[in-house]
């Protein structure tokens, strides 16, 4: 077993009826918790999620390299076993000396493992409570609903609830808890670079979205003659700041004022603060470049805590997996490297933590030249605050029908719940235990609240 850091003691789980309804209600008041949660926040911190849409194959993202486990891996994976024609496996060693291999597509961030900025969290997934194979097969514990379904699991991994319930995302709720730290700043605290995302929606904090490369300019101001455009802008400013006497109208106008300010800031961010770091082209590079520009605005906006959502699709590799996954991971690692370098250049490397999520992992046993929908998955965490060069969670034994298999095809029952994964980051972000319990209502069922990869 490669499990480390996480104990196996399983507390007898509480009756499900004891789950407090307050945790999922939009009526919950956060004021008290907020007051407890954030005293004297002065620094800037950001959490950046890269969601690998389609279900990244974790089994081929991180592989075992002890000879016995590797041989089992190679036998079971068959046609999918690494290395393949895309290049050699990238060797890494955990702090306890256990060797692992990374997919060749992760070349760009390979060296960050040795630099102890990159860590792997093995076998993370959605759970209601600790679950064994016997419990799973015997339906002895509550389980997330609709396992293996893209639409359901995308929502669950973003809402952080095993039923996809609640209408808010876990990052949005984390941002809710830290909103007092942002003081009077009206700048969005929760931003998606990939369309409206439930991940970013809080009870208090809105899920704001940005379109990478689009400076939120109003088309109607860019007209000929320029004087007419300027006159429209002047009139808008007057109209948006006029006192209508109606609160809802004032609030709608405030959004437009915020938009004008945001657009101005985005324009300036795009030109006035050039970075030496170059971002790779492509959808994820563009998204992380936009995140960087927002982070560059932190002093202008006064914001102290922000969460970001980026995504890259195409990971549903039922066939043609080898090249497709390698190519996608190459995009991921190049973009992650550029983003990390940008945070170094800004002097913020230890203030920004980037992590991957995906709706689920994939089956260890291949299906032809692809793999099928799974459950637990291995994820990457990168940043100056990450205790990197190490593996957290577990890479379960390579065995079909083994102790972590939910069936016979190497579909992993998670060793680490999403609650634990997120709570570890929430703690680093500044939330106290009470606040974290509101964000992750099932965390209390797990023995370890902080799995240790941030500190």
């Amino acid at each position: 077993m490669n499990n480390k850091k996480i104990g196996h003691s399983r507390r007898h789980f509480l009756k499900a009826a004891a789950v407090p309804l307050a945790a999922t209600t939009g009526l919950t008041k956060f004021g008290l918790v907020n007051a407890l949660a954030q005293q004297g926040v002065t620094d800037y911190r950001a959490l950046v999620c890269i969601f690998l849409v389609g279900g990244n194959d974790g089994h081929n993202t991180v592989i075992p390299r002890t000879s016995s486990e590797y041989n089992l891996y190679k036998t079971i994976r068959g046609s999918l076993a690494l290395p393949d024609s895309n290049g050699p496996v990238l060797d890494v060693t955990a702090l306890n000396g256990t060797p692992y291999g990374l997919n060749n597509g992760l070349q760009s961030i390979h060296s960050l493992w040795a630099a102890q900025k990159l860590a792997v969290v093995g076998n993370v997934g959605m759970l209601v409570q600790p679950t064994t194979r016997a419990q799973f097969l015997g339906s002895a514990v509550p389980l997330p609903s609709n396992l293996f379904s893209h639409s359901d699991q995308i929502i669950q991994m973003q809402t952080g609830t095993p039923t996809g319930s609640g209408g808010t995302g876990w990052a949005g709720r984390v941002a809710d808890q830290m909103q007092p730290a942002n003081g009077s700043s009206t700048f969005p605290a929760s931003l998606s670079m990939s369309g409206q995302s439930i991940f970013c929606a809080g009870n208090v904090v809105q899920s704001a979205s940005l379109i990478p490369g689009f400076d939120s300019a109003l088309y109607g101001l860019n007209i000929w003659p320029a004087s007419a455009g300027a006159a429209r802008a002047t009139a808008m400013q007057e109209i948006f700041t006029m006192n209508s006497g109606l609160s809802v109208i004032q609030a709608a106008n405030q959004v437009r004022q915020d938009a004008a300010a945001l657009s101005a800031m985005l324009k300036s961010a795009g030109s006035s603060q050039p970075l030496t770091t170059q971002f790779p082209g492509g959808t994820l590079g563009d998204q992380l470049k936009q995140v960087t520009q927002i982070i560059q605005l932190r002093n202008q906006t006064g914001i102290k805590r922000q969460v970001f959502f980026c995504s890259l699709g195409g990971f549903d590799t039922h066939s043609s997996q080898s090249w497709q996954q390698w190519d996608l991971l190459k995009q991921v690692s190049q973009a992650m490297l550029a983003f990390y370098n940008a945070t170094v250049e800004l002097g913020l490397a230890d203030k920004v933590t980037t992590f991957t999520e995906s709706e689920f992992g994939r089956s260890l046993q291949p299906s032809g030249v692809g793999s099928d929908h799974g459950w637990g998955n291995h994820h990457l965490v990168l940043g100056g605050a990450v205790k990197g060069g190490d593996l957290y969670g577990a890479i379960p034994p390579m065995a079909l029908g083994g102790p972590n298999d939910s069936g016979t095809r190497g579909v992993l029952i998670p060793s680490v719940s999403l609650d634990q994964y997120g709570a570890t980051m929430a703690k680093w972000f500044g939330l106290n235990d009470a606040a974290i319990d509101l964000v992750f209502p099932n965390l209390k069922f797990f023995p370890t609240r902080d799995i240790g990869f941030l500190g």
């Binding site: 499900a16 009826a17 004891a18 309804l21 209600t25 939009g26 009526l27 393949d84 024609s85 290049g87 339906s139 609903s145 609709n146 639409s151 929502i155 039923t163 996809g164 209408g167 009206t186 409206q196 995302s197 439930i198 929606a201 208090v204 899920s207 704001a208 979205s209 940005l210 379109i211 939120s216 109003l218 088309y219 109607g220 007209i223 000929w224 003659p225 007419a228 006159a231 429209r232 007057e238 109209i239 006029m242 209508s244 109606l246 609160s247 809802v248 109208i249 004032q250 609030a251 709608a252 106008n253 959004v255 437009r256 915020d258 938009a259 170059q278 082209g281 043609s320 090249w323 190459k330």
Partner: protein, 950 residues
Amino acid sequence: MLPKLYLMPLLAIPLAGALQAQTITVYPGPATIAVGTTRSLSAYVPLSPNTIQWSINDVVGGNSTYGTITPAGVYTAPVVPPPANVITVKATSTAYPTIFGAGTITITQLVPSVWSSYPSTFPAGEVNLSINGSNFLPTTVMTLNDVPLPTTYVNATSIKIKATIPATMVGKALLRATQPAPGAVKSDPITVTITAPPAVTVSVAPATAALSLGATRQFTATVANSSNTGVTWAVNNVSGGNAMVGTISAAGLYTAPMALPSPATVTVSATSMASATAKGSAVVTLSSGPPVSVTITPTSSAVSLGATRQFAATVANSSNMAVTWTVNGITGGNSTVGTVSASGLYAAPAALPTPATVTVRATSVASPSAYADAQVTLSAGPPVTVTVSPTAATVSTGNTQAFTATVTNSANTAVTWSVNGVAGGNSTVGTIGSSGLYTAPAVAPSPSIVTITAASLASPTAQATASVTIQAPAPVSLPNLSHARFLEQAAFGPTASDLQQVGQLGYSAWIDQQFAMAETPFNVGADVNVARANWLWRMAHAPDQLRQRVVAALAKIIVISANKNIYANEIVPYYQTLSRNAFGNYRTLLGEITISPQMGKYLDLANSTKPGTGSGANENYPRELLQLFSIGLVKLNPDGTPVPNSPSYTQADVAQLARALTGWTYPTAPGGAPGMNNWENFSGNMEARENNHDTTAKSFLGCAIPAGKTVAVETGLALDCIFAHANVGPFIALRLIRDLVTSNPSAAYVGRVAAAFNDNGQGIRGDMKAVVKAILLDPEARNDVAPADSGRLKDPHYHFASFVRQLNGQVSPAIQLSYLFDQMGQMPLTPPSVFAFYSALYRIPRVPLNGPEFQIYTPTESVLRANFFYSILTNQGGSDVSVDLAPFQAVAGNITSLIDTVDAKLLYGRMPATMKQSIAKALATASDNNQRVVTALYLTVLSGQYAVQF
């Protein structure tokens, strides 16, 4: 030569091994890349060691001309495309330098985009176009149907075109931006419409003339509709004429012949050089006659210095009455002896000449030997005076009035104009130009009478005034605010005909008429995108507006999303169910939804089984049924306010309810055999499977269901129990009020609607007709004076539909703009989760009020919404959506009328005066009436007043 081994990457994998043992393969294969951008290349190197070095056109590492490449294979294209823009990238083994792989990359310019052309409809001939787009370069050339146009670069997003469009291009034409070679690329086109050019015409003046032999007459040709005003002249179709019929010069001077031709009538014609078919003509009647003579009146005159005197000359015996005027033999005179105009107006000099008598002479143009003289005796004279005409006028705001100043006793007739003492006037009192054209201000000043003054430039103390009364223009008729507000709540905003109907029927009868109206069909169809288009269309155009409005509201309470139910037959029947029951009973609706296979799939009630069988009792639907569709999380007072610390149900209730609802499976597919757990199928209702049903006794929400009930009976009992819960009335009332009327209703209002839910007056609970009437006819809904916390932010669907309806627009039933709503957070039929597009309980950030729709109204969404409306206002909606701007264009000449018309259509007369002033200022700089219309509507549409339904 380079090896021609450009394998596509996907092909390369199965071939890995022997075939490629000696080959390095570069990925990607042939590719294009825009200047200044970066591409990561990789090479598959089946060699050991596998080290390689990269080169561009055989230069290791490349260079600035053809781009650079790092040792890791990151290629950066040059800033400008090289003349030879197809470059070769090589990965060469450092161990075996003869082995390499190569790929080619074509370097292109940045691809430009064209967003709009202004104007987008224009006649052939000379046009000036303003183009908006992106990535324009100074070398960018715009093309029309791929024909290059003279292009002037303004900046990266703006280009101007001044071109002559040939008539052969009349019709629709494609306008693109092209970047020149090397690396030539072109934008996607936009379509412009070229209309037929007006025909060239020529007219000749005078149209008739009578001339003596040998006399001359100047003809003038006017060419219309061509920039080429040149003509060729002919007499009786002989170019330039001849000695028989008379001659005509290139400048149109006709000289009659010396002998009468036969017939004695000739035709002088001018033919356009631009169009040989464009011809004008004049008829000249020739006669032999007595000698030409000239007389002048008066023949003598005394004129004061600086004053003027009109002389008249009469030419006898010639049809050419023209004379030339001289003073002391000087044509037109001069400042010493005085001047004379072509019309005979003599202006005395400023000082007495010596001698003080001068001769004014008129000489016949036709016969220069004929002339007459007048003697003018000059003397120092009377003071200069000025008069203004008219002396009083009434002008509507924004309109113009021409004034004329007459200066007497001075040769210098120039004046300076002022308004209320301000030279040229200003925007408050109106402006006046040097020609005396007064433009009234946009808003009547106070006092509303202003004074126009004309002062002689020669003698500034000589002044005259006129009084102008500025009045508001004919008032724009406003819609009935109460009716318009009602239709914002009961429909997706008012149309002119709906307003008329409500006015005729009154609220209650109009609602009854809507209740009785046939449902607009929502057919399943084959494609969910067609269904999305149908939804956008029906909001704007379905006649049963109240039903559509209630369906939209119910769809935010009882939710199914096309992000899981991705086929039309998995989602549209759900809307049919909402539509069918919108004016029915809420209990019936819950019943039909519960056993629908669409909900069965979305929230997993299909194939939910008793514990120990199949998948077990799924709690997903039972939980959302309680939390979202009926009673909510907390106990509610009858007025909808929460009872503190009182959860309305427990997890145990959910678990019991889940067991009670077990035993439903998908309907058996037509022709298929019924199974215990059928596969997904969506034709008809779900079917009961008693063997999968938990028949034990259950207890939840204070209800008890005895053991042994069938699936259908128990589901009915369970729903009866939920439906009877005291929360349902206030829960549903609050949500419907928030969607239809206002985000922050008073508790009393919620209580009144909840009471109607609880009892429709005839002892029936859940009657949606009673609920809808209670919501819409409540005094709080009908209060036209908005309290401070009233109103609801329009959601993107409503905002769009009401905009189209107010502006008499059209949404295509095949509208393909769903993706724009996706960006704005409201993909039609596709809420992100069972919690709908936004929570009914969402509170406005930093404001102590509820505002559900604000959850998806952040700065970015607000900009996307604004840009969407702008694209519609500027006619970029194509066949998807359009609005009618004609009523605004008709009044655009008057700023006040225009703003009032916008106010009437969009805000029903509630636009604040300060907002009108702001818009009026912006309109003053608009380049034309069309831009005025767009500006006025755009500014209003973006305002908070329009973003909120209040």
